[in-house]
Subunit: 335 residues, 4 copies
């Protein structure tokens, strides 16, 4: 059994703690949160200890690995501390909002044999994953185009937006990673167009965008479109379309159940895609831990690595430059 | 070009006249209706002559074939007159509401080489027809069960109900025929259960039923369920399901177009199946004429024959007996 | 926390033990199985004790309630012993294959205040449950017809069939219960037709059926059709259709994920419904335990009661009589 | 009855001739084709006269209006000749491949009261049209994003590609028009990225592209994505998605019929979208003529005007400039 400690007891940390606790090959060795009462609450619910500090976690011989779900600015530091302490790492995205900091972190942990896995949960989604496997099995011939639709159900709180680091670094970063995952080669060019269509006033005030369209192209010419919105009132909209020379694959949205309504005004009406990420990607979050345990116990390579986290951030930076300069940006200009 | 005259200028006769008129291998030789003004109206719209009597139609050397869409009580007489006059026949269902009359008609036209085709339009529906072809191609292995859902959008006018001859002879007769078409062998046993659930008062007054469930079994044991309702407020509901040892085929409902609506309360909402038979089976009605032209010009066997019309009526009679005697009835008891 | 012991460590007992173990308001107090090694295996996996006998379970002060998942012939005895010992009961269906034994059990436990819940998991399925709620909210007006499609993915092993008690008592019993749950009133008439279409030889040898069609009618005239097959090669097929005066509701099948394939030969192709009951109804099995905890802790009435189990068995008996006598059977003839 | 002559008897001209011939409010006054035998063939099939020259058509007092379906280079000339002759015009797209020629034509016909309608058939598609109506009725609140998927089933013949004028002017022009139709305001910025992914060799040889992604933005900030491919092996792929503040609308693909296949390897498999434009947009082509008759007889404004044809071409030019200069292009730079 892999003994994992969870750092950060917010919404996503609580979910991770519960997932680790019920994982057949992992045990929850304890939790930590800067805000002690939060840690205490989760510790009690799971019947595990609450660590007094992150240092205590890294120092504990009872801990084999850490799952970092704390505030973004602490991610890089904790990754470095964990590696120094010889603990395997599963870290939530993003590594950091600042590329220089990410690169510095990369240097400091260079050469470590410890598994460091990034929390790009979508790579573990059953539907997205089955689409990739079908493509790799040749079902659609040669891949030509990828279309990613990624829309949140509603605008997050203002406080969240102020700390998130911007749409491309906070939200689109998942899509940049998914694009790389599906394209199978590095995007070399990025174009981005965006605006504040949902709440123009807030957008102007925070200089933030809430709706965006991005186009990526790889070295071999493969094309990828990403469209984002912060307000899909019909629910969390997560679709991936793979278009190839011999067919197409679509990983479509998931409903809470399969009830269909037929009335005098509408037929086949289904439930809203009410899920947000905790519900929509629940199976993916579980599979993510499963994959992590494999990495630690069998030395498998993480499906989502530290470098994947760095690459996704580079694409976000390229998107911001494209937005500012209104042109197709070479990724090489950033990296 | 096959010169066809249409007898009967009601709702369905008008449609047939228009379909014949625009058919590439047929021409509308004229129309007739007991109510002269109705015939005149259609004749003018199609730019053809209006015959003064059915006799005149049968006597006309300008007419190769007749499409009978008059009131049910005239069908058998007109079929006999047409055969006597050497005209090929495409006749709307049912042949007659009285089995004895149908049998007498069968005797009188016995031995004719003239094509006599029944208006079981559903046999020509692209979806139903593709399901049957797939089954015959072995896609579902051996057929075990057939489920037919057949529901009209709303209760017909009282006058219609009084003349229609009862749900099983008027409406279910299409499903009895479709069952035989799909089962590929004769049903030998029939059970029926029915009631007036939509309008109990009217049902009691006319001694008529508006909702029914029927089960058929063939000699080899294949099972078939038919469910009927006179009031599918979401539209004309026409589904056929074929369940076999290696798979299942479903010929599902057709929508006017493929718009899907996504709101905060519903997703994937489609249009009502607003079509009634004239719209839902338009392609089938066209294909029916196509098949008829093939019969006359190339001597092909009608996909829906006079005997098919007689067999469907026998099943309706068996269903009524089952309803009265609350037991599984042998079709042989009727025929 | 409700302390539950699980009796029976077969496939379904193992699932129940795991579900109880991870339930937030229940704890697994231990497990028992006639075959000690099976109990030991589950006990170790869950980190709980293995009881040496059922008697020991009922005598244990550490046990508040029992979940009975042993062989059918033991159900009635264990229910009686549990009640005598003051333990709440969640019992897998059927109570017993013999109606007289069920009635005797009913007499012996008459008047108990202890919650006794039957394992009719489908009542707890999110889709089926949402359909019922929508109907009760008046979305389809007055209910007229219920169509239940219930097909297992493949024929069970011969040994299972020999002990199962027959299709109607073993498999259709779930559909009889679901029909009662949806109809909202007692079926008063039953007609059944069945045969061995999948494996006629085995059917003849065991005098067992593998394909069936049933029709039920309630006192007020509502109609219900159930169709069963033991071999839906495309996966466990579980559909419920509610047809009413103002609309229709369909609780459709659930897929493992939402990948759609588009090729030169097929479009929109989805995954097989590979789930069998453990997968298809996983959420339902969890909700079932949730409902049971509510019954014990808050005195709620079980959504599926002992009497519901008895009623379903009566319908199975009526179906067998209809099969034998080839007629519509009054439920009152059995009860 | 509106007397219409059809110029051009190629694939699309033949379809238009047949549609006009069977239109209830129009008659086919005759046909013309540079290649006399082609005209003769269609004339005979429809039972109408074949004109010896375009001049003869424009001079004929038996002709009220002309439908121009000849080779693109003749469109502008024929429009001018028709206007000079006082004939109403329904002209296939594009007006011309050269913007200067289109502008010159605009000058020459300036001020005419004659209806001049462009063949942007998609505006008349029942699904696309219903989506627009629902949006205009406020069903999705304020429009934020439009996603248009437009893919042909296969690469056209080399000869076609050599004359077509390039992907953006020949194929995407329909999508540029549809984007304007749905956005409800003029796009002011265009970005395009494209390549020859299907047949790189042919692409290099003809300097042609076969796969493209375009982004448009309107003055108020609305965003639109168009993706094109010349080889959707699963059939003609035509989807329009409208994303708004209160919901989403998707006009999805149309299948030949609604058969679904369920096997051990796939469920819900539908037919390929085998239709190309003649089949997929048949209803739209009919409605297009209907709308044209309304324009001539009731003085209605064409739903697709000459100016719409000019605007779409301007967007195509802007897309080519964006492709060459790898930047976001202002539409004002072109117009």
């Amino acid at each position: 059994m892999l003994r994992m400690a969870v750092l950060g007891c917010g919404r996503i940390g609580q979910m991770h703690a519960a997932n680790v606790a019920r994982h057949p090959r992992a045990t929850l060795a304890g939790v930590y949160d800067l805000h002690a009462p939060s840690a205490a609450k989760v510790a009690e619910a799971q019947g595990v200890r609450a660590f007094a500090s992150a240092e205590e976690v890294f120092a504990s011989p009872q801990v084999d690995a850490v799952l970092i779900a704390t505030a973004t600015p602490t991610h890089a530091d904790y990754i470095e501390m964990a590696v120094a302490a010889g603990k395997a790492v599963l870290c939530e995205k993003p590594i950091d909002l600042n590329l220089a900091r990410v690169n510095a972190c990369a240097d400091r942990i260079k050469g470590t044999k410890l598994p460091i896995q990034l929390g790009f949960n979508r790579r573990y989604d059953p539907g997205h994953s089955a689409a990739r496997k079908a493509m790799q099995a040749g079902e659609i011939g040669e891949l030509h185009q990828v279309i990613i639709t990624s829309r949140d159900p509603s605008l997050p709180p203002r406080a969240y937006l102020e700390a998130a680091g911007g749409l491309f670094r906070d939200m689109t970063i998942h899509d940049f990673d998914l694009a790389r995952f599906m394209l199978g080669e590095e995007p070399t060019e990025v174009f981005a167009l965006a605006g504040a269509l949902i709440d123009p006033a807030l957008g102007a005030e925070l200089n933030e965008i809430d709706s965006a369209m991005v186009i990526l192209r790889t070295g071999s010419g493969k094309q990828c479109h990403i469209n984002n919105s912060r307000t899909a009132v019909y629910g969390y909209d997560q679709r991936v379309e793979l278009m190839g020379s011999k067919g197409m694959l679509i990983s479509d949205n998931r409903k809470p159940h399969e009830l269909r309504r037929f009335t005098a005004t509408r037929t086949e009406g289904a439930e809203p895609y009410q899920f947000f990420f905790l519900e929509r990607y629940l199976e993916a979050f579980m599979a993510e831990i499963d994959g992590f345990v494999d990495c630690v116990e069998q030395g498998a390579q993480p499906l989502a690595s530290f470098e994947d986290g760095r690459r996704a951030l580079i694409l976000a930076e390229a998107a911001y430059r494209s937005l500012a300069e209104r042109r197709l940006v070479q990724v090489a200009e950033i990296a």
